[in-house]
Every structure is written in C-alpha cells, then in structure tokens.
C-alpha cells in the first residue's frame, strides 16, 4: 500500500467515525513515531475491523473498469465515423480537407473547452463535474453491484473515496486524464479504421473551395504536411496538390502515387495532430495525478484531527511522583464551622499576627475600642525576630487574656501553627483568636477557611468558643474593587 492509499484509508476511517475519534487501539510501542505515522498505523489497524481498503480497491476498480468500457465504446465510434465517411463519400473521391476537419475540429473545440476548465476550473464548475461523475458512478454501482449494501458504511465510504479523488487537484487531473484517454481511443479507432479502409479501397483525394483562393489551400496543405514530412512520411508535392484540385487534369500515370501520398498525409496528420497530442496530454495528466497524490495531505487542522492528535500523541506526559510523602498528615478538622461573633473578653493583651496594612488599622481601632489601656503595647508579629521577641516577653505580661488578631482569608499553615502552639505552651494564659474578615472571599470559601482556623485552634489547645470572627465589611466598602 503506498502512502496515498494509506492516507486515503485514514480519511475512510474518519468518514466512518464521523465526528469524533474513538480512542486508539495500539499495542506496540509507538514512542518514536510522529503523529502522522501513528495516524496511518491506527488507520491500518482499524482497517482490519472496518474492511475499508477492500472497498476502496473496489471503487478504484469500478472507476477503471468504467473508463475502459467507455474507451471501448469510443474506439468503435471513432472507427465507425471513418467508415461512415468513406461509405457516404460519393464514388471514390474523398474531400481531403473535409475528412480532416471532420475529425480535427471537434477535437480542437473540446480541447479548448478542456483547457478552459482546467485552468479556470475553480470559478467555472464549483463541483458540479465532481457531483456529476459521482452520480453516474453511484448509478452504475446501484444498478450492477447488488452486494453494495453488505458493508454498513458502504455509501459513506463511497462518498468519502470519490470526494477525495474527484475534488481539488486530484479530481482535475483524474477527469482530465479520462477525457484525454477517451479522445485517444477515439483517434486510435479512427486511424486503425482509416488504415484498413485505405488499404482495401481505392480513393482519390480531392479538395475544393468556393470562396478561398487556390494559393491558400496550397499553403494550408504544405503547412499541414510540414511535420509529417519532417518525420519522413511521404507527403504530396506542390504539383500533386495542384493536380488534386477538383477539376484539374489528372495525369493517370501518377494517380497511384498521388493516392498514396494523400493517404499518408491524412493518416499522419490524424496521428500528429489528433492522436499524439492527446496521448501526451494523457501522460502528462497521469504524471500530474501521481505527483498530486504524493503531495496529498490530510486536513490536519480540522477538529477531528486536532482531537485525534490529542489522543494519539498527547504533548503532555506524566512524570509521576518522585518524592513521596512519608510522614503522617494531620487529620483534617471535621467539627462545627458555626461562626461566633461574640465573646471578646473584658480586658486583653492585643497581638496582631501577619495582617495586611488595612487589617492592621482595623485591628488598632478594635483595640482602641475594647482594650484602650493596651494601645501602646499592641504589636504586629510578621517575621522571625518579632516572633522570638514576643515569646521572650509574653511571660512578663500580667494580663490573663491574650487576643490574637488574624486574617480570616489566609489559609493557616504549619509555621503559624507552630508559633501559636509555642505561645499557648508557654504559660496558662487564655488565648483568643480574632479572625478579621475583609469580605474578600465568597461565603462558601469563608466557611471552609473558618473550619481551617478551628482546626488550628484545636491543635493549639484553644477553645473553639474563643475563635471569634470580626466582620469588617461596612467600614471597608472600598476594600475590593
């Protein structure tokens, strides 16, 4: 299977899968393959189950067979035309230019038409040619292939295959190739028949005109004969041309020779101006087709393939856990999360821990209101030195209650817990935690936070009743945007 067929197969899989790819079934190690390679592998694997490639081979054969049928028919049409011409010719005289023009001019016209489609195809046909070809193929298939319903995806794949091969550059070359092939077989039929006819019939070639001058015919014949002459075919000389003019006096002794050279000219000009160009164009189309097939790409930016890429070659891999946790974690707090706003003691020693500036101001106001005597002693603990200093000083504080201002929105961490534990472990003062709520967090998160703080209080042996929330919403309306 060549690359093009593999790619086509992938498109077939896409047609069957529809919108989104199901996960891949790959057994072997693919770590070294690129996404495209994996994609093609996957298609080949799925093909075993979906039986796409036999169908595609069948479609290809269908197209080829149909082309050859047409060729065959056209071949006989070409032969028939020649025979018709020679039969209908009065007597044994054949008008040379009429015979040539009859074959050549339709060819020329269709060639021009083809050129127009070939170079301006996009603006001209917008798919109807493609649809027409697909329609006729479908017609044949429905008519002559009864097993077509066996594969449940038959028509999906049919559409997929011919859409891929009949659209864009591929379709252009494919259909162009077909037209050239048909004309080629037409000329083959015509030339063969011509040879047979001329070999078995005696015809005199003449030419006639009503409005053109004799000179122009002379010139026309000579230019027509130029190429055959160059290649060694016998062609009529100027004299012979003169003599073949209708009504010219025929020198009998030369008649045989004249017949021969005119026949040779007719055959060779059909070959050189009809058959050969079509053959060359046919070969060119074949070449273009195969190079277009080489360049055929999957639409990798379509949603299907983007999704498939995520599946087949995810650009994220897990590296696993490299430094596992050995120690036992603290059990999470599962008690009440009800909020207390009352219970601030009568007199207390105030202490702020890790507050923002705004919270500090709020805390100061609170101190001023509830423990005005301790305003000057109020301190903010926010680094190691101040922690150590406080731990040294706390034993000298006479006040029995200590109120610690904290920020409710902060998740309490092990460092803070250690510090509070160190405080509560020092002597038997009673500690209160006052949680300042800035209203920066939504309500559900606040509940979660409060329970985190309760957990801390529990571990630091502080009664949960002593954890009090201070809502500073009204005073700080401008706090958050």
């Amino acid at each position: 299977m060549n690359l093009f067929q593999q790619i086509l197969l992938a498109e077939g899989v896409r047609a069957v899968e529809g919108d989104s790819p199901c996960s891949a079934e790959h057994a072997e190690d693919q770590s070294s393959l690129s996404f495209e390679q994996r994609l093609l592998r996957r298609a080949a694997q799925l093909d075993l189950r979906l039986q796409i490639s036999p169908l595609f081979a069948h479609f290809k054969r269908l197209f080829t067979n149909l082309s050859f049928c047409l060729c065959f028919i056209i071949f006989f049409i070409g032969a028939g035309c020649v025979q018709q011409l020679f039969f209908s010719a009065q007597g044994t005289e054949v008008n040379f230019f009429w015979a040539f023009a009859l074959f050549f001019i339709p060819n020329l016209l269709t060639l021009l038409l083809w050129g127009l489609f070939f170079f301006q195809g996009y603006t001209l046909n917008s798919g109807w040619l493609q649809r027409l070809s697909m329609f006729s193929l479908k017609f044949f298939e429905k008519r002559f292939n009864q097993q077509s319903q066996q594969n449940p995806h038959y028509w999906t794949l049919f559409r997929c295959y011919f859409q891929a091969t009949f659209s864009g550059g591929l379709g252009r070359y494919q259909l162009s190739g077909l037209t050239h092939l048909l004309w080629f077989s037409y000329f083959c039929g015509a030339v063969l028949m011509l040879i047979v006819m001329l070999a078995t019939h005696q015809v005199d070639f003449i030419w006639q005109t009503s409005i053109l001058s004799v000179q122009s015919f002379q010139w026309l014949t000579e230019s027509l004969a130029y190429l055959p002459k160059l290649l060694g075919f016998p062609v009529p000389t100027a004299e012979q041309i003169q003599q073949s003019h209708l009504g010219a006096v025929n020198l009998l002794n030369d008649a045989e020779n004249t017949r021969f050279v005119w026949s040779s000219l007719l055959i060779s000009s059909l070959i050189f101006y009809g058959l050969l160009p079509r053959l060359l164009l046919l070969l060119l189309m074949r070449f273009l087709l195969s190079s277009a097939q080489m360049k055929f790409n999957l639409p990798l930016s379509s949603p299907y393939y983007v999704q498939l890429r995520q599946l087949l070659k995810p650009n994220v891999t897990s590296l696993g856990i490299s430094d596992p946790d050995a120690c036992v974690t603290q059990p999470a707090y599962h008690g009440t999360t009800a909020k207390h706003t009352q219970g601030v003691p009568e007199q207390f020693y105030p202490l702020a821990v890790e507050l923002s500036e705004k919270q500090l101001i709020q805390a100061r106001e609170h101190v001023k209101q509830y423990a005005p005597d301790y305003c000057d002693l109020f301190r903010h603990i926010s680094d190691y030195q101040s922690q150590q200093k406080l731990l040294a000083d706390i034993t000298n504080v006479s006040q029995q209650s200590v109120l610690v201002y904290l920020s409710l929105q902060r998740a309490p961490d092990r460092g803070l817990l250690g510090f509070i534990k160190a405080l509560t472990g020092q002597d038997n003062k009673s500690y209160y935690l006052l949680l300042i709520n800035d209203a920066l967090l939504p309500e559900d998160k606040l509940n979660k936070r409060r329970s985190d703080w309760y957990g801390l209080a529990q571990q630091a042996d502080i009664s949960l009743d002593n954890v009090i929330q201070l809502d500073c919403i009204a005073g700080s309306g401008e706090a958050y945007e």
Partner: protein
C-alpha cells in the same frame, strides 16, 4: 533532571496556586490535587510538555513551604556565623535532615530546587509581603538557580502588585511575570517562556521552539473550535422540515425541530469542551431557548422567494402564475421542484396581494418549518460567548462555564453579514445533515461559507 530538555521546579508558599499553575500550563485538569487549603500537595510530582520527539519541558510540583521562617533561621545558624555559600547550607541541612523531622516537606522543596534548571516561585498576590515570604525568597536565592516569580491571583490581588514588585526588586528578582490560573491569558503563558529565554541563554533555541509550537497549537485549537461552532450554525440555519399544513402536524414537526437543534448544540458544546480538554461538568447547564412555534418558512414567505432571486414583474405572469401554482400544489410539490420552478413562485409573489387568500385556502399541500431568526441569533451568540470563555479559561478553574446570553446589547453584537448568511444558509437545505442523510459536507460552496463564518469567529481574537 533530564539532560536534553529543561526542568522547572514550581515552588511557593502553601496554597499559592502551584498545582494550579502546572494544571494550567499542561492543560490538564487532572494533574495533582487542588484544594483551597494549605498542604494539599504532599509530594513532588512531575508533568512534561513535549517540545519535540525527545525533548521536553518538565514541570515539578512541590509541597508548599509552610515554615520558611524557621528553616531560614536554621540555615543561617549553620557553620557558626561563618560566611558560607547558600548552597553549602542547603546541602548541610539536607544531610542533617533527620534532626528536623518537622521540616520534611521543606526538605523536598529544597531538593527540587537543587535538582532542576530553573525555579518558578508562585506568589499569591492577595497576600501582603510578610516576613515568611521574604524568608522564602532568601532561601531560593541560596539555591543559585534562576528564579522567575509568578504572580498569581492578579485580579483579586491587584492592589498589592506595587508592594510585591518593590519587594522583589529589593531582593534582586526582576524577571517576574503575571499569570493568573483562572483568568487565563495565552499571551501571559508565552511571557513565562520568554522570561525563561532571557534567564537561560543556552536554552534559548529550545524555548523558542516551545514558544512556536505552543503558538501553533493554540491557533490550531482555536480554528478547530471555530470550525465546530460554524458548522453548528450552518447545520441549524439550513435545517428545515417539511410538514403537512394541519395544526397538529406543524406542532409535531416543530417539537422535533427543537429537539434536534438542542441535541446538535449540546453535542457541539461537548466536543468543544473535549477539544479544549476541560471536564464535561465544567459547564453550567443551559438549554437553547428555542422559541415556541419555531418559524414557518413556507413557499410563500418573502424570505423564501427572495432566495430564488427571481422577481417577475408585469402582468403577463400573473394570470398564468395562479393556475400553475395550484397545479403544482396538487401535484405534491417537493422542494427540489420548487427550486426549479422558482420563477413560478416568483410570479405568484407578484399576485400575492390580490389572490393570497384564495391560494392559501386552496393549498392542502405542505409547508416548511425552520428555526426563526431570534433563535439562530441566540445560537450564534452563545457559541461566540462559549468560544471566548474557553479561550480565557485556565485548567485550574473550578467555576462553571456560563454561556447564557443575556439581553445586554453590548455583548450581543451580530456579525455584519448576518442577514446575508441567513438567506444563504436557508436556501441550502442540503447543507444540513440534521434533516437528510445524503449531505455533502465537503461541498465547495459550503466550505467557502464555513471559512467565512470561521473568520468572523476568529476575528476578534488576536493570538498574541
């Protein structure tokens, strides 16, 4: 940790959003564990972003630093006040770790610092600059590795930005970036890699490759998403059902139409979520409010006639038109036939004023039902909103995606060519795979139309 690629240690205070950062960068909603609580992550865990076949950017999540003040104090007490390099102190601490069992988690972070090429220090901007954060930064500087402070919670903590900047500068960290895990901006992600480029000059090319690749993937993703949304629009706008003219039949067909459109939208949304690698339940459930009654597009509506593009004028057609139309109706006209005989319908339009009622009465045939304009507008605007939401959503987000359209005029801006598109789609019932089986989704004109839609969807978003 890997010699061909690049490895990053993501460190920071507990609950600063380290795991979230990695989730967002990896686009992986399943990475690690995220909770609004200190000490969620308990071990070092890695994820890698492939750069090419055998190089990748490895990101290592670490437990949060919780007791940096004590750790820093300890580090400074080693070697009896002699001036010794920070890295020696870290190594000394790790060698004597058994003396400090309570600092196990911190030790993991220190090991990660020493093992990786570069360090992301995640900062919760809502926090004031406290002593413990300064100590963390000091400890980081001991590792003698390039550090990029990543400022998280940029929206909630905007007020503290200046304070943090000054503090970082004072401690000699200048290459910080703002990166919010919830309000994701792709440009900010690129900025992280660009900062890494400036700090790691020998990995500049590798990082450039990564940047290019990420950019390409991002635009590819967006285009694919736009294609999905555009395709949904075409499917729905060109959908029409034929029904008999009875009240009951129309009602039934309308219900079917609504159901089919709803399903199609749901499916498209699900595919979009999958494409962007979000969870299925990230979505706030909302149904497309298909309006009651749908919208009837029968052969005689002005819209339909215009799509044929034929406006016959003059009196010659009038008399003939009447007779032929009734013939057609009795002959059981199909849409294909209608398109062919568009001229006749056009002729009929010309006489509508005079004979409409008679014709209407005589018609026992069928009519076509399709989505009305308002419903299609809602469908379109919702897709636009959803696409924008997906573009700006980080993979650490827990909030539901909301793509409900409100009445607000500001965001409900329809594209310029709206009515042209509508006409175009409605005149092409064969473009919709929702009604018939034999569609041609790859047809040229449909592809062109799709491209136009995608351009409109992608228009507003610059990828940088």
């Amino acid at each position: 940790m890997n010699n061909s690629g690049l490895s990053v240690a993501v460190v920071g205070h507990a609950n600063a959003g380290k795991t979230s950062l990695i989730r967002t960068l990896l686009r992986d909603t399943e990475f690690g564990e995220v909770a609004d609580q200190a000490g969620t992550t308990r071990h070092v865990e890695g994820g890698a972003l492939a750069i090419d076949e055998n190089k990748n950017l490895a990101l290592f999540d670490t437990p949060g630093l919780e007791d940096s003040m004590r750790l820093f104090y300890l580090l400074s007490t080693f070697f009896d006040g002699q001036s010794v390099d920070g890295i020696e102190r870290l190594n000394y601490f790790l060698a004597h770790l058994s003396d400090y069992p309570e600092l196990q988690q911190e030790a993991k972070v220190l090991r990660a610092l020493l093992n990786n090429d570069i360090i992301f220090y995640v900062i919760d901007l809502r926090e004031p600059v406290l002593g413990k954060y300064r100590d963390e930064l000091h400890i980081l500087s001991y590792a003698a590795k390039p550090v990029i402070p990543v400022l998280n919670f940029t929206i909630e903590g905007a007020a503290n930005l200046e304070q943090w900047k000054t503090q970082l500068a004072r401690l000699n960290f200048h290459a910080f970036v703002s990166f919010d895990n919830v309000h994701f901006k792709f440009a900010d992600e690129l900025k992280i890699y660009q900062k890494m480029q400036t700090l790691l000059t020998d990995k500049e090319e590798l990082l450039q490759e990564l940047i290019n690749q990420r950019r390409q993937q991002w635009s590819e993703l967006f285009n694919a998403a736009a294609e999905l949304a555009g395709s949904l629009f075409i499917e729905c706008a060109s959908l029409r059902y034929k029904t008999f003219n009875g009240e009951k039949e129309i009602e039934q067909t309308t219900a079917k139409l609504q159901q089919v459109v709803r399903e199609a939208e749901k499916k498209c949304v699900r595919r979009l979520l999958k494409l962007y690698q979000f969870r299925k339940d990230d979505l706030r459930n909302s149904q497309l409010p298909v309006e009651q009654g749908g919208w009837e597009l029968d052969l005689f509506s002005a819209d339909n006639l215009q799509e044929f593009g034929i406006k016959l004028t003059g009196n010659i057609a009038k008399g003939a038109g009447l007779g032929v139309a009734i013939d057609l109706v009795t002959a059981g006209m199909t849409l294909g036939a209608a398109a062919v005989t568009g001229g006749i319908a056009g002729a009929l339009w010309g006489v509508k004023q005079h004979y409409f009622d008679e014709i209407q009465a005589k018609i026992k045939g069928s009519r076509y039902i399709c989505l009305n304009d308002v419903t299609l507008q809602v469908l379109w605007l919702r897709q636009v909103k959803l696409l924008q939401a997906l573009q700006k959503r980080g993979h650490a987000s827990f909030a539901k995606i909301d793509y409900q359209i409100t009445e607000q005029r500001r965001e409900n801006e329809l594209p310029e060519n709206w009515s042209k598109w509508l006409r175009k789609a409605r005149s092409r019932p064969e473009w919709s795979s929702l009604s018939s089986q034999s569609i041609e989704p790859a047809e040229n004109k449909r592809l062109l139309f799709m491209k136009e839609l995608c351009q409109e969807l992608v228009k507003g978003e610059s990828l940088l």
